[in-house]
């Protein structure tokens, strides 16, 4: 009875949790396209204080995420790429273009009674860490362009471990999944390493129509080992020393068949070397 409850709960784990703790069987695939936008007029300084900006910073991201099962349980490959990143400082300038890309390889070491997945993300510097102005001899325009990179300019890799578990139903009126992640981000080009972490709780009401939706809350962040001085070289979240602790909430809903959509919002309550703003995210996904 207990095993069947676990099995039933796992069936209802949404695609948002896959390739995090739940790996895919061979031939199964998932693709997600998201639009994220944030706009703010203050900055988290390298010492975690906040300062006002003289102007408004706006960032727009179009990101794609895909995962493919290659070998049942033992190998799921993921791809995440910022297809379009636009950074703008009001009345100054904007840069735009392809952002950075990550390729991941994941293996389900334990599948019952809980999920333990190990793997690695490899970061590829497909963005531009030194954008040029239209006229690079224009000193001010060039300084604006160089302050708005679309990539971090460095290869990196992150071995990570995910734990996952689905539960609920029967005597409990709700279904849940929980995912925990811990990763060590090995960086290059003088960037200090970092630790990445996440704790995520999904909740579903197992009633007709409502069971199309998952409400997901997450606590996550990255903790760089850079000193305050080392963290002073950027403000757009791509520089050395970026650190944040955030809370997020997302509502994901199945539309029909394998098609789903989601909407989410996050907020950092402790950060450095990033813009202080609330990102809003809209996504659409399809599962084969």
């Amino acid at each position: 009875m207990r095993a069947s409850l676990f099995a039933a709960a796992l069936v209802f784990v949404p695609s948002v949790a896959h390739a995090q703790a739940w790996t895919r069987d061979a031939g199964s695939a998932y693709v997600n396209l998201s639009l994220t936008r944030l706009s703010g007029d203050s900055l988290y300084n390298p010492d975690f204080t906040r300062s006002d900006l003289p102007t408004t910073f706006t960032q727009t991201l179009i990101n794609t995420y895909a995962e493919v099962g290659v070998v049942d349980r033992w190998l799921t490959v993921t791809l995440s790429s910022e297809l379009y990143r636009r950074n703008a400082l009001d009345q100054q300038g904007a840069t735009f273009g392809l952002g950075d890309t990550q390729v991941g390889f994941w293996s389900g070491v334990i599948t019952a009674p809980f999920r333990l997945t190990l793997g690695v993300n490899v970061g590829l510097p497909t963005g531009d860490d030194t954008p040029d102005a239209t006229d690079p001899t224009d000193v001010e325009a060039q300084s604006i362009a160089r302050s708005l990179p679309t990539g971090d300019g460095e290869f990196d890799f992150e071995p990570a471990v995910y734990l996952g578990h689905g539960f609920g139903g029967d005597s409990w009126p709700l279904r849940h999944f929980v995912v925990a992640k811990l990763g060590y981000h090995v960086r290059t080009r003088g960037f200090r390493d970092a630790v990445n972490y996440k704790l995520e709780l999904g909740t579903q009401v197992p009633v007709d129509f409502l069971d199309r939706f998952w409400l997901i809350t997450r606590f996550y962040g990255t903790e760089s080992f850079a000193s305050d001085i080392e963290a002073a070289n950027g403000a757009t979240g791509l520089g050395n020393g970026v650190t944040y602790t955030s809370l997020g909430v997302e509502l994901s809903g199945r539309i029909t068949g394998g098609l789903s959509a989601g909407i989410g919002v996050d907020t950092a309550f402790r950060a450095r070397s990033i813009i202080a703003a609330i990102p809003f995210r809209f996504s659409i996904a399809y599962e084969l």
Binding site: G93, G127, A232
Partner: protein, 173 residues
């Protein structure tokens, strides 16, 4: 089995195509500055009259100097010197041991203000000198004569409006 194989091949093709397309791409740039504003620092072209009084021997001289100090959590070290060089030009010199936090868009500014705040303001006595070429080491920048008497030199992150470092200048007797 064949369907699974086809799905795998399609999935691999998608992944490989995506990776191939994501080779490094240069970012584009859009200028939002109001039209007509072009950086003209160091390029003044004011015509003036001239009376030839004969050759004058120019003596290089140090007018003022000071130590750099980082603002807030930023770091700075070394000295700044305001001087007349051998050609009679007024210059700002950074010492060999000059260093400052590597921020985006740093500019050298001379000012009468103890604090610049969020932006460089000429009406408040700020004179923008030049973009900082390197965040460390000896450098020399020509400055307008009127900047030579100002009491503060700044390194200022112009795009994000952040004070990075300041040097209080003392006259050299």
């Amino acid at each position: 089995m064949r369907r699974t194989s086809c799905v795998n091949m399609r999935a691999y093709a998608i992944l490989i195509t995506c990776v191939a397309l994501t080779s490094a791409c240069e970012a584009g740039f859009t200028d939002f500055r109001p039209e007509g504003i072009v950086n003209q620092v160091g390029s003044s072209t004011i015509d003036a009259g001239f009376v030839d009084g004969g050759a004058v021997e120019v003596m290089a001289a140090t007018l003022a100097d000071g130590d750099w100090r980082g603002r807030g959590s930023y770091s700075a070290a070394g000295r700044v010197t305001i001087a007349i060089d051998e050609q009679g030009a007024t210059v700002l010199r950074l010492s060999d041991d000059f260093s400052v936090s590597g921020v985006p868009g740093p500019f050298l500014v001379m000012s009468s203000r103890e604090s610049i705040g969020r932006s460089i303001d000429p009406s408040m006595g700020d004179i923008e000198i030049a973009g900082l070429a390197e965040d460390r080491g000896a450098q020399t920048y020509p400055i307008p004569v009127e900047a030579a008497g100002l009491p503060y030199a700044w390194v200022f992150c112009k795009p994000f409006g952040v004070e990075i470092a300041r040097a209080e200048l003392m006259e050299v007797p």
